[in-house]
Symmetry: C2
Amino acid sequence: MQRYFIQSEQINGNLIVIVDQDYHHIKNVMRMRIAEKVEVCDENQNLFLCVIKEINKNNVVLETLEKLKSDVELPTSITIALGLTRGSKLEEVLRRITELGADGFIPVEMKRSVVRIKDEKNSKLERMNTIVKEASEQSKRTKLLSVANPLKLDKLLDNLDQFDILVYAYEDLKTNSLNKFKNIIPLFKGKRVLIIVGPEGGFDPLEVELLNNKGFIPIGLGPRILRLETAPLYIMSAISYELEL
Amino acid sequence: MQRYFIQSEQINGNLIVIVDQDYHHIKNVMRMRIAEKVEVCDENQNLFLCVIKEINKNNVVLETLEKLKSDVELPTSITIALGLTRGSKLEEVLRRITELGADGFIPVEMKRSVVRIKDEKNSKLERMNTIVKEASEQSKRTKLLSVANPLKLDKLLDNLDQFDILVYAYEDLKTNSLNKFKNIIPLFKGKRVLIIVGPEGGFDPLEVELLNNKGFIPIGLGPRILRLETAPLYIMSAISYELEL
């Protein structure tokens, strides 16, 4: 069933008013009619089964039939900070980590990033939020990942209070290190975790020093060299595997 | 360092003759010169450090300096059979599962596949093998994944002798099932494993029955619905995480 993400202020008693893009999607893309059913999820992860009551000129009115139970979110809050790179790669990673249950995404300009922040337009944020919505609807999530505007690494490191556990993926890490990813994931349960993945050229040694000084834990992702686009998917898959399967 | 995959017949004593695409790559793409070094890997996973001795009109002659040790391959042999879909999606999955250590890839036409085999040209196999070579060089693998021509599900099920363990990813599986992926991966060690991932619309119920009758083990991949392109990456990441980290 089609799922839409709304703000709780759109709910009025047992009625929900759908406007803008979602209105367009119900009316013109899905061509739904009165009495058809949809699922609606608000920002507090309340999920409702609804029926279409009215299709008006500028909105669709839904009636809630039932509050649904859903338990599809990871038992931890993961934010992936990824070395800034081309928009198409950022979007691919964003789509996949949304499917895989991440809660946040921060493109970070690092020394070896092939793209600089001035190249990034703010309009991309809107596009990225659309990707998140689509991927969340398709994967049946009840929570929308939050996308940040690209920022420089030092700005990110000045605002770490919102995270309980800090991690970075370090390809030069020997696999027999003490900080095995396998030992660390169980600690993520119920915590807010920030995981940084470096840009194409890897971290600069000064950045590694900076991360270590800030208390970031380095983790290795196995013996093969993973691309920037693959590493976040490995990380999210491993977390789901460890905590959900 | 640049890595090339060769056949052992190209080795003659301590000399290796490089021709065709790799010759072109060394001479014209990398613009390498005599005395520069490359790594070369044969089909038996022998890895050599070599130095360029001659750059001729149709070939490059390398001298082996040293046999290198490399232990980057998964301790199991995984073949992913994926519901036939658009070529761009197949290629993306192929590139990523190569990075993640898979040994085989088989596009399989199933009842709900959006693409049919007659649409597929054989020339695609060459392109796919190029993708495998590139991804293997980049991820520093010593083994080349083998790509099969697309085939129908019943053809695949007639040729299962080459596999020790048969698995399929089943999205309708309840997560509290006995056949947890987590319980099954440890059994993969040293075995040849076939894992089938269904097409966009999922398996047809008759196909599920067929797989169950053939002894395939159904596995679930967590509570969120994963796209066809994401499921194989989740599977390969989970296997690496369980067996290598």
